[in-house]
């Protein structure tokens, strides 16, 4: 069966060119970069060059880039690291109610350690109001963390504006750009961010690697303690092949950003328009225009997300849902609830994410098959009266 992948927001296949630079690193450049001898020096050089590349594409300094094991670790580090390092200044953190769990659960953890966290609401499109951020800042606020673009509904936040407010108020500002990076242009200087998380496997790079941008001067504790790697800020023997692959992936996505985004937006809007026109009682989730180029998220009344996913999977289509049944939890996605959906409707949500390899043919296949799948499930549903 031909498989059609519509879950680029979950993870991406590796770019062949990324794998090509990684293989020789794995095979030959295995030295420990902390060593003096030639094996080690070559690994060190590869890492230095990779750091330069990542810094360049973000408009950061190489000294401001720290490699981590992924986006989750970068988020944890930014939040836990600045919270504990600055707790003499205050214990208040501002975030939003639609963050990824890597941020939300980290904030919950900090609440247990005496920190106070404000979870800002969002509007029906999933948009945070920068004025809400401004009004929530108090004497004890030490950190604001707002995601750049939401992984479920794709809404892009006014990061630059929030960064301005943070800076005016002398509060650290972190953004989780795991979804945004590679899809939209990012310039850390222009954005006024102090910290930013990115991840390799979302940009056609390797898994198990990511980075935290830490602006020079930010006071932050280590999250992982040990050896002197990453200029004494992130211990653990460096994963040279993954670092080199990650840098290559950063370079490649940035190179083609404009065209890939344009192509994705066209497919996205085509897909959204068609679904809304051909299936009734469906709503689009997220902002109509301020959304990630590849994100399509709809709620389909009367039926439950996982059963749609399963039906799609049985004909080779891989998509994702905000339904709790996917994960075995009872509550549906906190993001869908935060934009005001009822539990029932949130359970019937579906995300298709478009990537660089998505074709019009694939989209058409989905559009052709989806209505019948939905009708079949609705016919089984006690909530649906045709």
């Amino acid at each position: 069966m031909q498989r059609r992948y519509f879950d680029y927001a979950a993870t991406t296949p590796i770019d062949k060119r990324v794998l090509e630079v990684m293989i020789p690193q794995i095979e030959n450049n295995f030295g420990n970069p902390s060593s003096v001898y030639s094996f080690g020096r070559e690994a060190r050089k590869s890492i230095d060059e990779s750091r330069d590349t990542v810094a360049r594409v973000l408009n950061a300094e190489p000294k401001e880039i720290f490699f981590t094991s992924g986006g989750t670790e970068a988020d944890n580090w930014a939040i836990i690291g600045t919270a504990f390092a600055n707790k003499n200044k205050g214990n208040h953190i501002i975030t939003t109610s639609i963050e990824h769990h890597a941020v939300l659960h980290t904030c919950k953890y900090l609440e247990k350690h005496g920190f106070e966290v404000s979870y800002l609401p969002v509007d029906e499109y999933g948009m945070v109001d920068p004025e809400d951020v401004r009004n929530s800042i108090k004497e004890s606020t030490i950190l604001i963390t707002v995601m750049y673009a939401n992984n479920e509904i794709g809404t892009i936040q006014p990061i630059k504006k929030i960064g301005e407010i943070a800076r005016e108020n002398d509060v650290y500002f972190h953004t989780d750009a795991v979804q945004a990076f590679g899809s939209i242009e990012i310039d850390v200087k222009d954005l006024n961010v102090d910290m930013m998380s990115i991840s390799g496997h979302k940009i056609y790079g390797p898994k198990g690697i990511g980075a935290l941008y830490i602006r020079k001067g930010v006071k932050i504790d280590n999250l992982i303690h040990g050896g002197g790697q990453e200029r004494k800020k992130r211990a653990g023997t460096e994963n040279t092949p993954a670092i080199v692959g990650f840098a290559k992936a950063c370079e490649l996505v940035t190179e083609n950003l404009k065209e890939s985004a344009e192509k994705a937006i066209e497919l996205r809007d085509y897909m959204i328009k068609n679904i809304l026109e051909n299936i009734d009682e469906v709503r689009l989730n997220g902002h109509p225009t301020e959304r990630l180029p590849g994100n399509v998220n709809v709620s389909i009344r009367y039926i439950e997300g996982e059963s749609i996913l399963l039906s799609l999977d049985l004909i080779g289509i891989a998509a994702s849902s905000g339904s709790a049944c996917t994960s075995g939890a009872l509550d549906p996605s906190h993001v869908l609830l935060a934009i005001g959906l009822s539990h029932e409707i949130a359970h019937g949500s579906l995300r298709f994410s478009i990537g660089k390899d998505t074709t019009r043919e694939e989209v058409d296949f989905v559009l052709e098959k989806l209505p019948a799948i939905i009708q079949r499930l609705r016919d089984m549903s006690p909530l649906y009266n045709s």
Partner: protein, 123 residues
Amino acid sequence: MYTDKVIDQFQNPRNVGELADADGVGEVGSPACGDIMKMFLKIENDVIVDVKFKTFGCGAAVATSSIATEMIMGKTLEEAEKLTNSMVVDELGGLPQEKVHCSVLAEQAIKAAIKDYRSKEVK
């Protein structure tokens, strides 16, 4: 994740629908939890002569409802009441851990429908 039997029951569910003249109707779950099961029983001489279901829920919820209707069809009420969720899971060849709660719903829906029938009978 799902066994072939689960997939088959999900793709080709038996006894989907409603019974306009049901003797007992049971509904459990809630849309908030992402699972609703509705069971319709036609009963003659304490024997289940027809059964239909409607389910809002995941693949496992659909499959467990479907197989449960097969398991109680033609059975006496007493026998049907003995149906447990683990019997349903076994019949499906197993369910992923996090989906086992769906099978509990099927058991409960059947019990609710029988209870409904009995409560009407008494009147």
